[in-house]
């Protein structure tokens, strides 16, 4: 739903929630959450589970998602299914930038969410250092039920949104390169954890 502020009037994002805005929120959120078009960004084995999720047994069409959008321009939710090497980081960033608002993203699987077992020089340690992420689905790879649960969580999240929230889906880039997190935050997110802390050979 497009909300354009009237010329010289108040922006809707500046008004406090009232009966009219919450009813409008309900309507738009109901429509948005039940017609999410996914943009699949499948790079690894998670994409196989994603395909299973889209196929007949698990049937993404139940969520209004049967139309996989292979063009970011017509997509609502970016599903990163699989590990993301640094070489693909500018690619997923550009796809994210090409998606029109409102847009959401799901980080599917351990590698997309945290780098997983690939704590090495080539792999992004969690796509939340590249794009904002709404729902993380754990698993290696997650079962289709896991992804479906993640999608339902995302629907729940969308149903709680309000366009009176002026900071909703605002991305504040911190530098010209396109980073949206400050460097120290990226370093903190990329810290080794779990078994990775023992991988200290050769520095």
């Amino acid at each position: 739903m497009v909300v354009t502020p009237p010329a010289g009037g108040v922006e809707l994002s500046a008004v406090s929630p009232n009966w009219v805005t919450t009813r409008l929120d309900f309507l738009s959120n109901w429509a948005r959450s039940n017609s999410l078009w996914p943009m699949p960004f499948g790079t690894a084995c998670c994409a196989i589970e994603f395909m299973a999720t889209a196929a007949s047994r698990f049937d993404l069409a139940r969520f209004g998602m049967e139309r996989l959008s292979y063009s970011p321009r017509q997509a609502d939710v970016l599903i990163c299914a699989g590990r993301l090497p640094f070489k693909l980081a500018p690619v997923i960033r550009r796809i994210w930038d090409q998606m029109p608002q409102p847009k959401w993203s799901i980080s599917m699987g351990a590698c997309a969410s945290s780098g997983g077992i690939f704590d090495n020089y080539a792999m992004v340690q969690g796509i939340d250092t590249i794009i904002p992420v709404d729902v993380y689905v754990p698993g290696c790879p997650p079962r289709p039920e896991g992804l479906v649960y993640g999608i339902m969580l995302l629907q729940k999240k969308i149903k709680g949104e309000s366009f009176t929230d002026s900071d909703l889906r605002q991305e504040h880039l911190v530098d010209d390169a396109g980073m949206f997190l400050p460097p120290e935050r990226v370093d903190e997110l990329s810290e080794p954890f779990g078994n990775s802390i023992h991988q200290t050979r050769s520095g």
């Binding site: 640094f86 500018p90 960033r93 090495n120 390169a177 980073m179 460097p183 997110l189 050979r201 050769s202």
Partner: protein, 205 residues
């Protein structure tokens, strides 16, 4: 398939002292040759009747973390007609620059194999027509990842790696020919055409 390959005796008779030593490991014959004569030896192995190693299975390199022999470049050869294999190794000297002659003129398949060894180990192949990184992006500045002295997580901080990756231009990684876009050039948006023409690849270290 055990025992020394008959090619080893023929090589020793032909090249003498350029054949440093020969090893049989797990039934495979391995020939260590000098860096200077390696190209001649490989050409001889390919072109001589009775050898006919017409298929280059792989080129790779091994880093032994040993100052005496920093790197070995490995050529795995195969004769499709004779159904015979031979492994040729070049031990590189740590004090000299890591350079060997390209065998692209013998086997065209060496093109990407040598680029991969260059990318991962930093071995320069003299005479290669297009020696660029192939797995990592061209502006990658952290060094050569498969060397033993390369830290597992890279030299830079994660933030710096993310910043450099995001600053890269994904369209500029490939030439028009690699994208098979040469014929479609006039269909592209003007700004993309301009960027591709200028080859906006960033600073190649």
């Amino acid at each position: 398939m055990t025992g020394v390959s008959p090619s080893v005796g023929a090589l020793t008779a032909e090249f003498g002292s350029a054949i440093l030593r020969t090893v049989v490991s797990c039934g495979d014959s391995i020939v260590y040759v000098t860096r200077e004569r390696a190209h001649d030896i490989l050409a001889w192995l390919k072109n001589t009747p009775g050898q006919e190693f017409d298929y280059l299975t792989d080129i790779t390199a091994v880093d032994y973390r040993d100052p005496e022999r920093p790197l070995e470049v490995v050529y795995q050869l195969r004769s499709l007609g004779r159904k015979a294999d031979l492994r040729v190794k070049i031990a590189l000297d740590g004090s000299a620059p890591l350079e060997v002659d390209s065998v692209y003129d013998l086997w065209k398949g060496a093109d990407w194999l040598e680029r991969e060894v260059y990318d991962m180990f930093g071995v320069s192949f003299v005479g290669h027509p297009d020696l660029r990184r192939i797995l990592m992006w061209e502006t990658y500045g952290e060094g050569y990842p498969l060397r033993k002295d390369f830290p597992l997580r890279g030299h830079f901080s994660r933030a710096e790696q993310v910043r450099q990756a995001l600053a890269a231009n994904p369209e500029a990684q490939y030439s028009l020919e690699e994208l098979s876009l040469a014929q479609a050039m006039h269909d592209l948006p003007a700004d993309m055409t301009e960027r591709l023409r200028r080859g906006e690849r960033g600073l190649v270290p």
